[in-house]
């Protein structure tokens, strides 16, 4: 058992990969969902510590490809614990009522040169909006596919930061979301 232990994950990965024509699943530890928000003229970066992804990416069969994300909004990593506590409150994410944000792809487009466009629905705080995420795919040293992309959402469309916080001169309306997904090598 000890001898074969290390081989088991790679074996499982090979089996998984061979069952589809493309990359499946996401290497969560190597992947990240970050965002940039502009506060008083300062770009402040944050990220989500916990999220789940179900990605089935088939470059040759985009119609059968899909990308689903579920982000635990309470797992947000911000500048301070004080701001993390604040953002869970009703006027921001309201995590008690809306613990997760989801993205569900509805279609993918090949733009050529390892660039793609993923259209999908982003649902946050009870509001669903169609978004388009442009991504670029590169291979890393281990042969995994690394998909990176960024898109801009408007927080006020999702009523995130309501009332006194609606003033975009303090916290800008636009939030840049940066996604990096590492998909295990296929076969």
């Amino acid at each position: 058992m000890r001898l074969f232990g290390p081989f088991i994950p790679s074996l499982a990965m090979m089996l998984l990969a061979s069952s589809s024509a493309g990359a499946q699943g996401v290497l969560i530890d190597k992947s990240e969902i970050r965002f940039l928000s502009r506060q008083m003229g300062v770009n402040v970066e944050g990220r989500f510590r916990k999220w789940k992804a179900n990605v089935d990416f088939r470059p040759k069969d985009l119609a059968k490809s899909k990308a689903e994300l579920e982000i635990d909004l309470g797992s947000i990593d911000l500048a301070s614990e004080e701001s993390e506590t604040e953002i869970r409150r009703p006027r921001w994410f309201d995590t008690a009522k809306y613990p997760v944000a989801t993205f569900q792809s509805t279609g993918m487009k090949d733009l050529g040169g390892e660039r793609y466009e993923i259209a999908g629905t982003l649902t946050m705080k009870g509001t669903a909006r169609d978004e388009i995420i442009p991504i670029e795919i590169k291979k890393d040293a281990a042969g995994n596919s690394v998909a990176t992309g960024q898109f801009t959402i408007k927080r006020l469309e999702f009523k995130i930061g309501d009332g006194q916080w609606a003033d975009p001169s303090v916290v800008a309306d636009e939030v840049v979301v940066r996604v990096r997904m590492v998909l295990p090598r296929a076969g």
Partner: protein, 177 residues
């Protein structure tokens, strides 16, 4: 007795720094206790801008002072007082540089860059790290309370020179002709 005074530039810079330091210090005490609000965000930004301005003013004052030495102290002043004056002035200058720097590093460690006046992005001095931030905040606070103590001595000494010794030391720095 008529005494040589500081140049009008040195005096202007001194009183401008005084004003900014009191505003920055007061704002710092006030803003940290506030509830999370847009106003708090604004005050933090202003506090940082004031700090960076104090740093720049201090650098300018040191440069000016290098070419325009301080007027002499009264010959009757005891040697220990002259020494104390040298040490406390050196401490004031050091703190006026160290405090804004410590605030800037602290801000970097929380992952929030300093953008001076909302226009000039200053580089992050350290990487974001929560434990580092806790230590740097204590450092920033301690340096500020040290400054408050040295400023109290500075003011007390100035008043003693003016009202007790009547030796014109304070007049060297007072505004006006």
């Amino acid at each position: 007795m008529m005494q040589a005074r500081y140049t009008s530039t040195a005096r202007a810079l001194h009183w401008l720094a005084t004003l900014l330091i009191f505003c920055g210090f007061g704002l710092g005490l006030f803003m940290t206790g506030l509830e999370f609000s847009p106003a708090k965000f604004r005050y933090y930004a202003w506090h940082k801008w004031i700090g960076i301005t104090v740093f720049l003013l201090t650098a300018a004052r040191l440069a000016w002072r290098a070419g325009h030495p301080a007027p002499p102290l009264p010959p009757a002043m005891p040697a220990w007082q002259v020494r104390a004056s040298r040490v406390s002035h050196a401490a004031l200058y050091a703190l006026m540089l160290a405090i804004p720097l410590s605030g800037w590093i602290y801000s970097s460690s929380t992952g929030v860059s300093v953008v001076y006046l909302g226009l000039v992005a200053l580089p992050d001095l350290v990487a974001k790290d929560r434990d580092t931030a806790k230590i740097l905040l204590i450092l920033h606070r301690t340096l500020n309370y040290t400054l408050a103590a040295v400023v109290s001595v500075h003011v007390a000494a100035a008043l003693k020179h003016h009202f007790v010794d009547r030796d014109g030391v304070l007049a060297r720095m007072l505004p006006g002709r």
